[in-house]
Symmetry: C2
Subunit: 424 residues, 2 copies
Amino acid sequence: MSAAPTTGVSDPANLPLHHSHARAAARVTRVDRWLAAEVQRRIADGPVRLELWDGEVAAGAPPRAAGDLVVADRGVLIGLAVHPDLYFGEAYAAGRLGVRGTLTDVVDALSQSAAAQPSWIERLLGALARANDISAARRNVHHHYDLGNEFYALWLDREMVYTCAYFAHQDMSLDRAQRAKLDLVCRKLQLRPGETVVEAGCGWGALALFMAREYGVRVRAFNLSREQLQWARARARREGLDSRVEFIEDDYRNVTGSCDAFVSIGMLEHVGRRSYQALAQVLRRTVQRGSGRGLLHFIGRDVPRPLNPWVRRRIFPGAYTPTLAEVADSVTAPAGMSIVDVENLRLHYARTLAHWSRRVLAAGDRIRSAHGDEFFRAWELYLAGSEAAFRTGWMQLFQVVFAPREVAPPFMTRDVLYRHGSPR
Amino acid sequence: MSAAPTTGVSDPANLPLHHSHARAAARVTRVDRWLAAEVQRRIADGPVRLELWDGEVAAGAPPRAAGDLVVADRGVLIGLAVHPDLYFGEAYAAGRLGVRGTLTDVVDALSQSAAAQPSWIERLLGALARANDISAARRNVHHHYDLGNEFYALWLDREMVYTCAYFAHQDMSLDRAQRAKLDLVCRKLQLRPGETVVEAGCGWGALALFMAREYGVRVRAFNLSREQLQWARARARREGLDSRVEFIEDDYRNVTGSCDAFVSIGMLEHVGRRSYQALAQVLRRTVQRGSGRGLLHFIGRDVPRPLNPWVRRRIFPGAYTPTLAEVADSVTAPAGMSIVDVENLRLHYARTLAHWSRRVLAAGDRIRSAHGDEFFRAWELYLAGSEAAFRTGWMQLFQVVFAPREVAPPFMTRDVLYRHGSPR
């Protein structure tokens, strides 16, 4: 692999080694070799080779590899051996851990290995998955770099949807797949003209506007981000939908009145477990008892996992990706709602993230010049790590349809969701 | 309603009043009237009238009613006022509580009322639902009456399927709806010719034979009931499927080897919470890691509820209807499985039960002459009560598709489940 191009990542020889103990590329010692072999052993059957700063390949490295991890200094080597969950992301973003080949190939190869050989790799990928939790990272990145709408407009789809798309066909473009997701949500809710919808956490307003335009409903959409709301309101006015969609700068917990349908896409991960009771109360008082229904779309897990110390330190502490059971027990059941339907779209999210990765890469020059190389590498890693997490089943993407216990579900048979062609 | 026919239940005037304190229909006293008004008040807005043994209607009874509850003696009246959960079913089966109108109308009317006015009605219906828990009652009835295949053949569908059907169209017959359910299960599992399937709890073998015949798979089907297995094996030989379907008289916990697909329809309610760990172990060692998947179809609830004392006393103590969260936390997650898809078919079960009710009623003479009137009334009530429980959302029917965490789900988009017409 040594002649392979390094896509989107600098060659380690050219990296800015701005941490003190990495300044001089020390001679490789016996201890370094032993550590390298140890890390390589833990990579197990993942076809990834570990290479040291002098070009030496770790003992036990596979003859053919999907890519190489290139360690720029002893600090990173020790870090990888002892605390991969702490050091992988840091070292990569800082440019002290390089990748020869493509980052996604390497992360994917490590993921494959994790299935057979948990422990070390699992800690590493687990940390990646957690560190790169979409919503948490979003806040983190947002917080640290004060990103604007312009950054996301560089690589999101036309509708500016920053959640999992739905690839109704294998070859759908991201633009079409995001629209298909919006439509799938509307179909699952069986929206009818004239009905009222509350949306909690509306991002740039794509779903709210879609529901009003395509399904003729009236929407009240809640969001705390003034910048996103300004964008959404401007678009609503442009499209003549401002009389039917009200964008409200407020917490979802302050939702008043009632609605026929409640929908929340990619917000549950934000609010944290402590807020589930409040969300349940919102559902209980908002969703009409006689005819209501709702949909929650969120990043979830199979098994509850607390955030690790690194993530707790670095990332917004309220974020949490729940299990389906936690949502059932702490949100829908206390709200008096029955779960009607659940779909796990994790591979759709992996594909969405692959699209985002390609688009971030394509916009690399503009992103680097605006935000710097470390920022770019952090985003690159977080998208690749998240893709691997969804692809390997480390993370799930659940769409949960619910209705008040005594109310008939919005559909008796699911074929009606797919009857008139695929979602638009 | 006084002139309405009493369908399927004897007029209280003709009931066998075989309990000592009910022998003489005592004069209605002021205390009786007060108690009757009290019970009527608790029925609340349910359009059901309480009538006493002398024809007197309770104070506060609605002018128009879906049906009348006719109390045959003071003991039942006191029982209804104090412990509806204990006495409703007992008194009805014993013929000391009559219904004018149809039983299902009355139970339905009480159910509607329960939504608005929980407490008393909820206790009553809850007890009904629990007492009439399909699987528990089945064992109970089986235990008490030693029923054979012949009894079920009187009123089940042609395939002898004693679980929730799938009404792909509004007007499907029960026979077609049961076949549609079998096919829906196969579609969700995406069975391919030559694959191996383990079925835990196979009843009379309908699904096992269907999978082998229509999808070309090899099935090992487990059951503890020798009588059902004899029936199933005879049918397999008749249809020339005995080389592809092995019916095994053993506990599902003794499943050995591996399989491409694991399926269990209506067994989880039987095994009780204490066995979930064992079931998780079976799934972990049986479902192939590389390509496997499975489906659990079970009666569930929104909120965990312990069985009440009456049910614990009367009914097989191992039975338990779990929440979706309990199955996720205690079965699929410990087995290393991700939940791929969940469908709640509760209204399909209500409809299935309505079919069964009509067929039991139609076979009433034969059932009565073989098993007696009290038996017939108990079955009538248990089917009507279960129908109400599913219709009102007291009980749920979940189909859960799962796959080993690292394995791609059996389908990327659900439209493939419905593409080639409705399930057969």
